[in-house]
């Protein structure tokens, strides 16, 4: 019986963590813009300095 109680606590806390993660991600604005983040990761960084020769 005690095993079931421990399992219960474990399962509900795991679910609660997911709920917290969900609420955090919504509050964080992760669903506000579905276009930019997947594009952003594909961009190469441009050279830090201009390519032309003058210093």
């Amino acid at each position: 019986m005690s095993a079931i109680v421990i399992l219960l606590i474990a399962s509900i806390s795991v679910a609660a963590i997911f709920l917290a993660a969900f609420i955090w991600s919504v509050r964080n604005g992760q669903f506000d813009d579905e276009f930019s983040p997947p594009q952003r990761i594909l961009f190469d960084n441009p050279p830090a300095k201009p390519t032309n020769t003058d210093q």
């Binding site: 709920l19 609420i23 919504v26 506000d32 813009d33 579905e34 276009f35 390519t51």
Partner: protein
Amino acid sequence: MSSATVHNQLVCFHCGEVCSTTNITAEDKHFCCEGCKLVYQLLNKSGLCNYYDLNENPGLTQRIPVRKDKFAFLEDAVIQRQLISFSNEQQTHITFYLPQIHCSSCLYLLENLHHLQPAVISATVNFTRKEVSIVFDHHTHSLQKLAELLTSIGYEPYISLQSLQHHKPGAKKSLIYQLGVAGFCFANIMLLSFPEYFGLEAADIQLQGIFRWLNVLLALPVFFYSAFPFYESGWKGLRHKFLNIDAPIALAIIVTFSRSLYEVLSGTGAGYFDSMTGIVFFMLIGRVLQDKTYQQLSFERDFTSYFPVAATLVKDGIETPISLPEIKAGDTLLIHSNELIPADGICTRGKACIDYSFVTGESIPVNKEMGEMVYAGGKQTGGAMEILVIKEVAQSYLTRLWSADTFKKNNETKSVSFVHLLSRYFTWILFTIAAIAATYWAFTDSHKVWNVITAVLIVACPCALLLSNTFTNGNILRILGRNKFYLRSAQTIEDMAGITHIVFDKTGTLTATNQKEIVYEGVELSKQQQQAIASLAAASNHPLSRAITAHFGKLKRLPIEEFREIPGKGIEGMVGKDWISLGSQRFISGISGTGDNGSKVFIAIDDKIYGHFSLQNHYRESVAPLVQSLAAHYKLSVLSGDHATEHSTLQRIMGPEAALLFNQQPADKLQYIQKLQQRGERVMMIGDGLNDAGALKQSNVGIAITDDCNNFTPASDAIMDARELSSLNRFIRLCKANKQIVIASFVLSIVYNIVGLSFAVQGVLSPLIAAILMPASSLSILLVTFGSSNIAAKLLRC
């Protein structure tokens, strides 16, 4: 460059527009104008040419240069304070709205802004909202310079009076949180209820208590937090003495919760927490689907979002920026080319050549002499001019339209969904059943009375009706959105299904704004002369010149010498050996005539008048078939701000029974709609300009039509892409199918209800039966609504 004909047209490397000249080049790339070339060179210097690799010709044409001091008003501390979101010693945070954002290249360029200007610390784009949030060092770079930097790379910030007055409300997130909490609680309660369904062995009977109490704990957040929208809306309805669908639902939730709590407390049963949380969860999903909004679109625009933030005040020869509300009668304002006139006034200096397309939808500019009235909302297309303000912004003609009663009317009173009426009958029938069952049991077994009453209310709450309604609405909104027809809310679907009369605006709706048909009348022109005229017209940016250039198409351009453009009159220049003039009748022949209203362009070659081009509105190709399909079911009207010159053409297109009204002022259009409504008609108005705004608002369904969804549209119930106009009839039929689908799935849910009720009235509704019925009915309703609305869309080819 010697090839005489250019078969595959040369397009600008930056913006993809057809180049009218081959002279503008940089590093073997061709550009349509110096503006585009400048942007390219700037990006090339900073190593940001990835911009061009990500998408082909990602830029926007820079043909119309932005005036140098346009953003001078950003130096004004009051305006700055309204725009800046955060500022400290080191940095300033600001968010600009850039309607030009359209592809990943835009994203790339704007987020690498710090390579162009080291003072920029970071820039983040929100693509959906078309906004860029910039953090910059205000010691080394001013706000004005920042706006100018964005403008120089082709992203001119759009700063309007509306953005100053109130910030955009953030997306409503509370419903999402409520949904998340309900989902979490529902799933866990479901899990904890399984032992109850399948029965526990005697040894584990003490576990039952733990499970039940955990269920109570998990049901609390659903009851007090997630179900809140239903209590709120039900209570609101009751306060207005209106029984909406949420009232019986709220009642059912409260009854279920109370009875379940009582059962657990008294140890008589496990209650119906699983059914209660489940139904709340499903109903919230429906709500979220139905309330999906289009963040990039605004259905609430009034004139303030069209107006600039500031104008240039001229006082004792000194120009200072002044914000619009501060403009007083008697001030002298300097209106630059391509600027909007913010207040009614008299032209005191310069030539006015005003494009009233914002107000009337007519894009051909009107010429005004000194001393003549100019009205707010017009855009100066000639050179700079000065006006003496005679009415403040709030008193001006265009602004007054918005203070009319229509715009103050509460939208909620517009119409009542049939779902609420249906739920009302449903609720009364339910009460009757509960009462009959209660009386029966009162005589047979009085212990069971409360048990039966609560069971009836639990089983038969109209949640199935709400579910079928929200899910169907949500799906139909999605299907229409895929077809570039965006509705403001789900109520619009029902309003569209019920219309009896369709009113079209002519200019910009039936006719395309940017396409004019050109007809030449006069002495026949030789090929060479045509070429010369096309070359001359190509040098000017006037809408009429552009129309003429487009008319001649791909003729080779000849070099022009001594080109002159006289704003409001015409253009002239030496092409080859001929001196060619194009312009108004007065300009060409010296005599005023019918050609002076801006619809005719006269041609003179070596001072000999050859003839004139006259411009006719180009009716969209889709109009004729659309009208044919609509005329059988609806009454049609056309309202036009123009003269009645096209009466016969229009009557032929619209059919003999359509009412055609010309010379309609914005207020007339509004009154016409009101008159129809008084006759009991339900009116759909389709229009595009600010001049239709009153009529759009007054009508039962106002549809704003636009060639580009990023453009500004007046306040309306729906926004439609102009290319989809031909599908209007199919969209209306889909909206009609909506009601049938809701009723069909409702009938299905009644079957479940009858099964449930048969248990409930007998007083044997066990949690297991409730737990099977609830998800079974919810899921089958989901399948039926989604399936049948998709089938309906497929049948209608939407």
